[in-house]
Amino acid sequence: MNMFSLTLEHMYIVFIAVAIAVVLGVFLGVIAYWIRYLDSIILWITEIIQTIPSLALLALLMIVFGLGNTTIIVGLVLYALMPIARNTYIGLQDVEPHLKDAARGMGMTKLQRLVKVELPLSFPLIFSGIKIATVNSLSVAVMGVLIGAGGLGFPVYRGIQTNSLTLILSGAIPVVLMALIFDYIMSRIERRLTLRASDGRK
């Protein structure tokens, strides 16, 4: 068992899932912001997904996507949607009304306001959603082994089967370390973003 390549694969799965979740989550956040009557529905659905136990969700997804990395990636994406979509929505809502007014008054279209003003000013909050999603996904991805995916779930699972604490730890420790490192680095970035952008928000 090559721990290094398992760690890489674990990160790869999480990275792909978070990347997809960012695109989808920001998109949903924007839709919820733009279309007033859709906001509660979109936020409600992403929240419901969160409450489904991961084992049950993965089992359901397995029926559709079969065994392998795809299934765990889809599962991670679904879990990561909520923090990203919600933070995008809140971030966009909370941009100072007078800045939205100014942008409209300058003659920006709805899309220009979003891209040039509203999203940049919401970015610190969106980033904090991405951080939560990343750190969560690192640990949830361990479950992937149950549906035939790769990553650090494998040594943990084998460790449980063979009653080997060493094996369990050899999988768990890198996961915990990665989570801590990502949390630390991303929190620092988040802090800097927030400081810089604080004057554009309520």
């Binding site: 800045l99 008054g105 300058m106 003659g107 279209t109 040039k116 003003v117 554009g200």
Partner: protein, 373 residues
């Protein structure tokens, strides 16, 4: 140029604008004034269609604005707001260039515009263009706010209490600058304020509103002499006569002024001005006596690192004694090129400062009791 025809706006059943009809000429500086909530902002925002009226028509150059694309309409109308509204994620240059870029000006053209505009308000390009709004003082930010509105040379500019949040000296300076720019560039300006001093100083025509209606539309002189309604008199009163009431310079001055010792370093003084949001420092000698003034322009133009501001002071500002008749200060204010008068105590220490605003306000208070702002 701009024509309102029976324009009405309701929120629920409350009328906010009530059959408003008036006309603004090309190149005119029109000030909308009235008590808070009377509909000034609403009126302004109907012009660039940030608010759509429920009834009535607005024409610009004879064209019904509801026939125009709102986005294109707004790109042709400058807009300045009280909260300044510079985009904090963009530099000064990017902020000024917003509308030129929306209009797809080529890069060299909008850069040249940014250059010229910054020069026009004595904020050199190299020093300021790449700063973020949060690095500027409030006064500088609103200068940029005004430049942003001018950048694509719109014939019409809307300003909603643009100087309401600035300190009196900076406000005076910006009022003068905007008036100068308007004369030079021949813009049509619609300017909202609730400050009668400001209206009297800036306007060609004052539109006095109350509860969504126009009470009087007249020149400042006309409104001053013949206010058409008690509410208007309440806002400013009748004729100002300072001779008969024994008002002294000490009565009308403001005492909160930013003073600095003459041995202060240039850079530190610029910082001080920024942090206190003023354009001018009053420089004092070691024994607290008045030495002169130094402006941020002087510091920028002639100051070098390590230089003391004592070397840069000028005596451009008129000086009066606290016990002098207010009329004297008033005359000095009108004839001087600076927008304020320094008031000294008998021992030549600085007692305070009189600006056009503080003068008008103080007189109003003496004549008609509290002048609310």
């Amino acid at each position: 140029m701009i024509k309102f025809e029976n324009v009405s706006k309701k929120y629920g059943s409350t009328p906010v604008l009530d059959e408003l009809s008036f006309e603004i000429q090309q190149g005119e500086f029109v000030v909308l004034i009235g008590p808070s909530g009377c509909g000034k902002t609403t009126t302004l925002k109907t012009i660039n269609r940030l608010i759509e009226p429920n009834a009535g028509k607005i024409y610009i150059d004879g064209k019904d604005i509801t026939d125009m694309n709102p986005v294109e309409l707004r790109r042709g109308i400058g807009y300045v707001i009280q909260q300044i509204g510079l985009f904090p994620n963009m530099t000064v240059e990017q902020n000024i260039a917003v509308v030129p870029k929306l209009l797809k000006y080529p890069k060299d053209k909008w850069q040249a515009i940014v250059h010229d505009l910054l020069e026009m308000v004595d904020m050199p390009y190299e020093e300021n263009a790449h700063k973020y709004p949060s690095e500027l003082s409030g006064g500088q930010q609103q200068r940029i706010g005004v430049l942003r509105a001018l950048a694509a040379s719109p014939p019409i500019i809307l300003m909603d209490e643009p100087f309401g949040a600035l300190d009196p000296i900076t406000r005076d300076t910006l009022q003068d600058e905007v008036r100068r720019l308007q004369k030079k560039l021949k813009k049509t300006i619609v300017f909202v304020t609730h400050d009668m001093d400001e209206a009297l100083k800036m306007a060609d025509t004052i539109v006095f509103m109350n509860e969504g209606k126009i009470l009087q539309m007249a020149s400042p002189e006309e409104m001053l002499h013949n206010p058409a309604h008690p509410i208007i008199s309440g806002f400013m009163g009748k004729q100002i006569d300072s001779r008969s009431n024994g008002l002294t310079a000490g009565d009308v001055m403001r005492t909160r002024v930013v003073k600095a010792a003459r041995n202060n370093q240039t850079l530190k003084s610029i910082e001080l001005m920024k942090s206190r949001d003023v354009d001018t420092l009053i420089v004092i000698n070691e024994d607290d006596t008045y030495a002169g003034i130094v402006t941020i322009g002087d510091l920028r133009a002639r100051g070098r690192g390590g230089m003391e501001i004592g070397e840069l002071i000028t005596d451009a500002a008129p000086v009066v004694n606290v016990a002098d008749d207010a009329q004297e200060a008033f005359d000095a204010l009108l004839t001087s090129s600076t927008s304020y008068v320094i008031v000294l105590n008998d021992d030549n220490t600085v007692a305070g400062l009189i600006t056009k605003t503080s003068m008008t306000r103080a007189m109003g208070e003496v004549l008609w009791g509290d002048v609310t702002s």
